[in-house]
């Protein structure tokens, strides 16, 4: 008997998809703007509640939770497997989407096509939750495509603006090349391991057992263990990680990001920067640490795969460092407020990549905590910048001068977010950066901390540039009638600002209770992840 909570958890993405597609149909009947807004907010609220249930369940009751669609056991059917790592990220996604949906009501109140906007927004949430919760590499591909298509659509939301169409076109081409490459990687994975289930791949990379799953296929697919499988694994890892590094915007695959993120409406920029790139990070982490056991290479059955995984980790550190430096240098030169913040995203993804590349417990904690902190702080930064843009109607920092004096709440939240991302104590960004520093020092790579310091000081300068432009600079023209936007905008800002402070102050508790278990689930407990999925199969086969 399946626990009913399992149904709720497993069905979260499908429910959200259904909610997304119902909206255009319903809006044919109810031709009211208010209806679309209320529908959008309630749909994201439902998703947020579901993710919160999943989070609560995996942390306090049982982890991981395996949900089989249509009760088909793992190698045949699609499986959703939620452990503490993706349950945590799912909660962040749910909460940020809810806040963004509320914020969008006010931000887009003068635009038409609001029902399409909310359709795409909820669709993107569904795709993102699917990518996070899925336990099947092909389903990950499908959900990645759902997320990407909605993202391309939302970047092109202002379809009469040159820059949004240009950015969306470039983003769409780059992104679809990436997903196609990932599809090729899937072919190689299927050819090498004869399964698409994550738990089974994780099992096959660490055991020589001639596993009884190969019910289907001829002699070529009756794969007994041979060392040559490692070559297929290496090729698949290379292609898949390339594809994910496009989604995560790690140098040199970051070019689309500074174009695409500013071109979208500000709430969408918040989601793209705060959450969408994290989907790429999540996939990288899942592939490296759960499927290929990068944190404990000694459990890998192929010595060849060990080399491959270690080379990948070094590559992640080098590329992360390059991303951070290049983004920092280019960030200072921007005069468009949202483009500047978009470059900062590349920088922070660089930090996260470095943390992932360290493959120590501290490094992984830093990476995961930074993923969450950056999601919160960057969403806040984009939303606050969006409030300025909403009120004044320009993205140029010089033209925004002096606005901040008349909008104290927005300015305060903006400064909190900026300081958090620069990493000043006691905000949350400091804690994760601190963990990253210590991870480097602990591993004996102390000189590399200089990269974080240099890029952080570039970031400090860039944020001070905005703070100067928006708040401290004397107004160039007479500002009349400008004040803080309505509570629909400011309340999400304040909630996120509170989260920034809370995640910093309560960090000892959060690290202990939330982050460390998720690291253990991600990287140090592969048998648990595998056995949960296999239990279902054994039950299905009758014991």
């Amino acid at each position: 008997m399946v626990d009913p909570v399992h149904h709720l958890i497993g069905l979260t993405p499908p429910i959200t998809v259904a909610l997304a597609f119902a909206l255009p149909l319903l809006s044919l009947i109810v031709k009211s703007r208010r209806f679309a807004e209320v529908y959008g907010v309630s749909a994201t609220a439902i998703a947020a509640i579901l993710t919160a249930i999943a989070f609560y369940y995996v942390y306090l009751v049982k982890s991981p939770v395996v949900y089989t669609f249509g009760a088909w056991p793992p190698p045949v059917g699609i499986v959703y497997e939620v452990d503490k790592f993706n349950g945590l990220l799912g909660l962040v996604v749910g909460v940020v989407f809810l806040l963004v949906a509320v914020y969008s009501i006010e931000y887009l109140k003068h635009r038409s096509g609001i029902e399409w906007y909310y359709t795409l927004l909820i669709g993107m949430e569904a795709g993102m939750l699917g990518v996070l919760y899925t336990g099947d590499v092909f389903n990950l591909f499908v959900m990645l495509e759902v997320t990407s298509v909605t993202a391309y659509g939302l970047v092109a939301f202002y379809r009469s603006r040159k820059e949004s169409i240009e950015a969306a076109l470039k983003y769409a081409i780059v992104g679809s090349v990436a997903t196609t490459i990932y599809f090729i990687a899937l072919a190689i994975i299927y050819g090498s391991y004869a399964t698409l289930n994550m738990a089974q791949i994780a099992f096959k990379t660490m055991s020589k057992v001639d596993y009884f799953f190969y019910l289907i296929g001829g002699d070529r697919l009756w794969i007994t263990y041979t060392p040559m499988i490692a070559v297929g694994g290496a090729a698949a890892l290379a292609l898949a990680l390339w594809a994910f590094s496009v989604k995560a915007a790690i140098f040199p695959n970051h070019f689309w990001l500074p174009d695409a993120h500013p071109a979208a409406p500000s709430p969408i920029s918040a989601i793209l920067s705060g959450l969408l790139v994290k989907v790429g990070v999540y996939a990288i982490a899942r592939f490296l640490y759960t499927l290929f056991h990068a944190a404990q290479p000694e459990v890998l059955v192929d010595s060849a795969l060990k080399y491959v995984v270690e080379a990948t980790l070094y590559a992640l550190i080098v590329l992360g460092a390059l991303s951070a430096l290049i983004a920092g240098i280019l960030m200072v030169a921007q005069s468009d407020i949202k483009r500047l913040i978009a470059y900062s995203t590349i920088m922070h993804i660089g930090y996260i990549a470095m943390g992932l590349g360290l493959a120590t417990k501290l490094g992984l904690e830093a990476a995961i905590y930074h993923t969450i902190n950056h999601a919160v702080a960057k969403a806040l930064l984009f939303l606050a910048a969006g409030a300025f843009i909403h009120v004044v109607g320009t993205r140029n920092i010089d033209e925004l001068s002096g606005v901040g004096r008349l909008m104290p709440i927005t300015t305060l939240t903006f400064i909190i977010a900026a300081f958090s991302l620069v990493g000043l104590p006691p905000f949350n960004g400091f804690v994760s950066k601190y963990l990253l520093y210590m991870a480097f020092i602990e591993k004996g790579w102390a000189p590399l901390t200089a990269i974080i310091v240099i890029s952080s000081s570039f970031a400090l300068i860039a944020y001070v540039k905005i703070i100067y432009g928006v708040w401290l600079k004397a107004p160039v023209k007479e500002l009349k009638g400008i004040k803080d936007p309505s509570p629909i905008i400011t309340i999400p800002l304040l909630i996120l600002a509170f989260a920034c402070v809370f995640l910093g102050i309560a960090s000892p508790y959060i690290l202990d209770k939330v982050i460390t278990p998720s690291v253990v689930d991600l990287a140090y407990n592969p048998l648990n992840y595998v056995s949960e999925a296999l239990k279902i199969l054994t039950q299905a086969l009758g014991g």
Binding site: F430, Y434, A446, P447, V453, S457, I461, I467, Y468
Partner: protein, 329 residues
């Protein structure tokens, strides 16, 4: 228990190394500094107030503090003081992590915390420059930020050197400012460990000059060129607070160098008379060194300064930290 915690925080914040201690040290240090700076320039220095002019710094500070507070129409009124107070507070918090405090706060891996605390004063100064818009403040502040980009990594790497070295000798708590300061003195007897320590000392003193905008790095507040850089618009109590922050920075960073690199009162303990005297002598040596560099050099241009730091200081600090991680202990 709770009372003890509260007491430790109060003592740290207000007595030692809090406001009282820092006020006295800053006053005496500024007098010493002005006196020897004047001597190097063939002047006499403070003379009239108190014996040998020893009360002059206090008189200057009080005079500025009770002057009229002028804020131009485009400037911010109270935010500069908030930023400056926070910066001074961060420096005192830094001192309370050193063994000089009776209730030192330390833990494993607290070194990054210390480094981040030293980030507050630059941020305060940057925002200060921008809070009073003026072409001069803008130019000065942008120069200051350019300097910071190159001097922050040097600062970090040099501070890490003694910490990494002491941690490698197996002293707990690891990577802590406190344990490093307590145990660095024993490293000076190890000929291999001395090399990275000297290299790091060299680079941290130059980074110190750079962070504090002392000559040859006084480019941001270049007098006669851009009036007073970030501080052009400030007068009265705000200027008093700015000078206070500057002097507290000199005191705190000198104490940090004395403890972290020279081992504080070593070879004696802090509770003995000799120990306190040794600490004072070492402290005065560092202040003298900084003043000497300031008095004997001329101002660089901004790109010269950046190139100098990148070419001659940053590689040294990188070599120091690499040596510190690889040499056998």
């Amino acid at each position: 228990m709770v009372l003890n915690e509260v007491l430790s925080i109060i003592v740290n914040a207000f007595v030692i190394p809090g406001l009282i201690f820092i006020a006295i040290t800053t006053w005496l240090t500024q007098w010493f500094y002005r006196k020897i700076y004047a001597r190097m320039q063939n002047r006499i220095g403070p003379r009239f107030i108190g014996p040998r002019g020893i009360l002059q710094p206090i008189a200057d500070f009080l005079k500025l503090l009770f002057k009229e507070d002028i804020t131009t129409i485009v400037a911010r009124e109270k935010e500069p003081i908030i930023m400056l107070s926070l910066a001074v507070g961060s420096l005192i918090a830094l001192l309370s992590m050193l063994p000089i405090s009776p209730y030192p706060l330390y833990a494993e891996n607290d070194i990054i915390l210390a480094i981040y605390l030293t980030l507050w004063p630059p941020i305060a100064l940057i925002l200060l420059g921008f809070m009073a818009p003026n072409p001069f403040t803008a130019i000065g502040t942008s120069r200051y930020m350019t300097l910071l980009i190159v001097c922050e990594p040097i600062w970090l790497l040099s501070i890490l050197v003694p910490v990494v070295l002491t941690t490698r000798t197996g002293i707990a708590p690891a990577y802590s400012l406190f344990s490093a300061s307590m145990n660095v003195a024993s490293l000076w007897s190890n000929p291999l460990a001395v090399i990275p320590l000297i290299l790091a000392l060299y680079s941290i003193i130059l980074a110190f000059q750079c962070k504090l905008m002392l000559r040859p790095f006084d480019i941001p507040e270049a007098e006669t060129e851009i009036v007073a850089g970030p501080f052009t618009e400030y007068s009265g109590p705000k200027l008093a607070f700015i000078t206070l922050l500057h002097d507290v920075e000199i005191v705190v960073y000198s104490l940090l160098i004395v403890w972290l690199f020279l081992g504080g009162p070593a070879p004696f303990t802090l509770t003995s008379i000799q120990g306190i005297l040794t600490l004072i002598v070492k402290y005065l040596v560092i202040v003298f060194l900084v003043t000497w560099i300031k008095a004997s050099t001329a101002r660089l241009r901004i790109e010269q300064a950046v190139v100098f730091m990148i070419k001659y200081v940053l590689p040294v600090s990188i070599i120091a930290i690499i040596l510190a991680t690889i040499i056998p202990i």
